[in-house]
Symmetry: C2
Subunit: 491 residues, 2 copies
């Protein structure tokens, strides 16, 4: 097997310098990306003695963030390691999520050394290969990326290098009798190493065998293989994330819609009642004209709990012809509704030509309560903004009228109303534990509301915020908005 490796590959210094430079930065980026993606990375560099393991690793770590990796140089085991199974030493060294562990020699060298020294070593090697495959598979199943290199040189090359190092005063101390013994048995080890490599060259954890005669080529091959592997892993993970959460949404438009709870002016009771009566008459007329002109109208009420949706709707419809409007309160979907597309139940209640349908809560539940409470998946509520815009656009372009109210109350006013409701026997039924629970999630809901207003206030179907801390003001503003809209549509 190893005889098929081309040992003649070579890159000259000039080309190397040119090719490796852009890779340095790339590896740094990939390290950060995988840190963020929480992918643990194991890089194993194995090879013959003097094959250049240290030089390869030296290059590899040069531009890595040192907080993100640990280098394990594996030699003879310590006492506490010797007292435990071989792989125990490596299990305890597996990197945390997002971190990188680089092994200069690894379970492979140790396994080879420890099996070969024992009796019955041939069958023990089979067992060792089985255990290593299990170890590596359990880690990759858990999301670890393992990249394995074997640096291959010929016996002659090894001899040349050992001699060279021995002659050099700076490196001679590195060469021991053990190296020469191992060298003498090069041909005996070769088939065993081949067994290890072919036995552990698995789909989830393949080997890259590098013809390591030339240092430049070796370093470049290892460097670029690490980069390619990490790039592939990144792609796979991003695809998975997208399948699960949907594509990242573009930022919502900058001109956020301000939610204001405080009324800009106050009405006396008498004023309020007078204006309200006048408005109700006008609404009555507008309803009739819409009916004559066969224009359907949808009015959506969304808002905080206790924002006054019910009371507001009641004043709006009081003067309407009851045969021409529907108020549709939206609660949790029932079983049949859950069995369909979430827009289905709203389509079913769309007004016929000339009719008015008032939704007390609406399809916007998808991006509010369903989002916050996890009743739908992230990718579903993310998709919903666009789906809702499409639905509203088609409906309006088909000749329908659409008004959308967001009733804003301050958190303090909501609290006062909650307490008042609890103390009022007539309104007590309105209060549930859920209201208090939702209130606890005020911040989360605020985020969802702002995102909803920004993403679904379109030219064709804008939101109107109703300042609802003052009920008189809120009711008049809503009814006046309906009148103004109706007049425009009827123009």
């Amino acid at each position: 097997m190893l005889e098929k490796i081309d040992l003649g590959k070579h890159i000259d210094d000039h080309t190397y310098a040119k090719k490796i430079a852009p890779l340095y930065q790339r590896l740094g980026v990939l390290q950060r990306v995988h840190w963020d993606l929480r992918v643990p990375i194991i890089i194993v560099v194995e090879g013959w003695n003097a094959s250049g393991i240290t030089s390869v690793i030296g290059e590899l770590i040069q531009y890595l963030d040192p907080r993100g990796f640990v280098l394990h140089s594996i030699g003879s085991p310590k006492d506490e390691e010797r007292a435990r199974p071989l792989l125990w030493r490596f299990w305890t060294r597996t990197p945390a999520r997002g971190r990188m562990a680089i092994f200069a020699r690894s379970w492979y060298s140790r396994s080879l050394a420890e099996q070969v020294s024992g009796i019955d070593w041939k069958s023990r090697i089979k067992r060792a290969i089985f255990d290593i495959n299990t170890f590596e598979r359990q880690l990759t199943d858990d999301g670890v990326v393992i990249i394995k290199f074997f640096l291959h040189i010929s016996k002659e090359e090894q001899k040349r290098r050992l001699n060279e190092r021995e002659k050099d005063a700076l490196t001679s101390w590195m060469i021991t009798q053990g190296d020469w013994d191992f060298h003498a048995h090069y041909d005996d080890y070769l088939p065993i190493i081949e067994d290890y490599i072919s036995g552990t060259d698995t789909r989830h954890c393949p080997w890259t065998v590098v013809g390591a005669t030339d240092g430049n080529y070796t370093r470049f091959k290892v460097y670029s293989t690490v980069i390619r592997t990490l790039e592939e892993k990144q792609k796979v993970l991003e695809k998975k994330r997208q399948d699960k959460c949907g594509p990242a949404l573009p930022k919502p438009p900058r001109n956020r819609i301000r939610r204001v709870a405080e009324a800009p002016r106050q009405y006396t009771r008498a004023e309020y009642e007078k204006i309200l009566r006048e408005c109700q008459e006008q609404v009555h007329n507008i309803q009739y004209l819409l009916f004559k002109r066969r224009i359907p109208l949808i009015i959506v009420y969304e808002g905080w709990d206790a924002a006054g949706k019910g009371g507001n709707i009641m004043r709006l419809v009081r003067a309407m012809n009851p045969r021409g409007y529907d108020v549709v309160p939206i609660a949790r979907p029932d079983q049949t509704e859950l069995e369909h597309h979430y827009l289905w139940r709203f389509y079913r209640r769309f007004p016929a030509a000339g009719h008015i349908t008032i939704f007390d809560r609406s399809w916007y539940g998808r991006v509010l309560v369903e989002r916050i409470e996890g009743f739908c998946e992230e990718k579903e509520w993310k998709r919903a903004y666009h789906e809702i815009n499409e639905m509203e656009e088609a409906y309006v372009e088909g000749g329908g009228g659409l008004i959308k109210f967001w009733l804003e109350v301050s958190k303090e006013e909501q609290y006062r109303r909650f307490i008042a409701r609890q103390n009022d026997v007539l309104k007590e039924w309105k209060m549930t534990e859920e209201d208090w629970r939702n209130r606890e999630k005020w911040k989360e809901y605020e985020k969802a509301v702002d995102e909803m207003l920004a993403r679904t206030s379109t030219g064709i179907a804008p939101w109107t915020v109703i300042e609802s801390d003052d009920k008189y003001y809120a009711r008049l503003k809503a009814i006046q908005t309906v009148i103004a809209y109706g007049r425009k549509v009827l123009e």
Copy 2:
């Protein structure tokens, strides 16, 4: 575009009968599969007048379970439909999850008829195509499978068929002046139909245009296309499911391990104390021999809350040399532990040669509490059975000893112990609300425990159930099991 469709395709009756027969059963199976997978299916059959839509659908539904599909024959709209946008009629007819809706003509025919009859129809068709694509994309985004057919015949063939039907007393009533008018304008409609088809031939919802001159060919083409599409969808969904939940596990072995809480015999206090003392001496000796022989031993305690794990362990270790054993209580993993493979924290605590490690709860938490409480994904705990078996096997084959206890108490006895603990100032701290919550999930836990015992009681690492309603019995059985195991290992 349509001129490229081969109108000469033909299947003779004999071949047809032979080819269609196996498909009947296949479609029935696929219907049930998608019912179970909760996939809504829409089949649209469109085509020229007299192109054979009815005949195709007749064949299609022949072997379908009638409870699972609805056939919608789309003609002129009813009043309530006319008062609403065109697609509203079809939104309300979308099938529920797992059901099938077959449309004999659809939004396409209606859109064509209604646009062409109006003014400014060319730009209205563009808008209609846009709306239809939106409609179909919203449905397929939600998981609906839409299969669309257009049955194409030539003008001459249409004329021949209309004449033929008019001559036949049984079918002549079906042919109206409208059919002939439409026929007369065949060449005018052709480019509009082509616009519709090419404008709505999307990736998520492609058309199958069938050269429908020959009835056998047409029916076979539609039938086999439906089957192929559903088969592909099934594959995609099963792949998705597997990515999410892991592969389906094989059934656990039939010989379930019986969990018995009631002790088969009772000890008096004096008996118990005498036997316990004798046992403890033996455990002491065994510990020494294991140490001398450098054999590591792991003892795993799992069991219901309040099953008496703590008291049992205390009696076991009382005579042991404290320098040679560790008791490792396993609680929730800390942050560092969560950052690694879940087995990592257990590997770190594995005993050195000659030592004993007692796990008070263990890696089995993965398939018990983490499974029930959703702390890990389904595919993770499913994978864990195999991973645990592998880990235990490698450890035992590497020369380690392993004993696994399941401490079984009855639900009644647990209740008595909970109450007793709550009333005992010394034991009160042991009780948390979580204990009561876990108790509420008794049935779920039972299922997980049974599956754990069945899947991880291997020849090399079997479970021992300790009947723990009686504490004396339970303690003696555990310690005697350790002694027997130790003797066997030391043999």
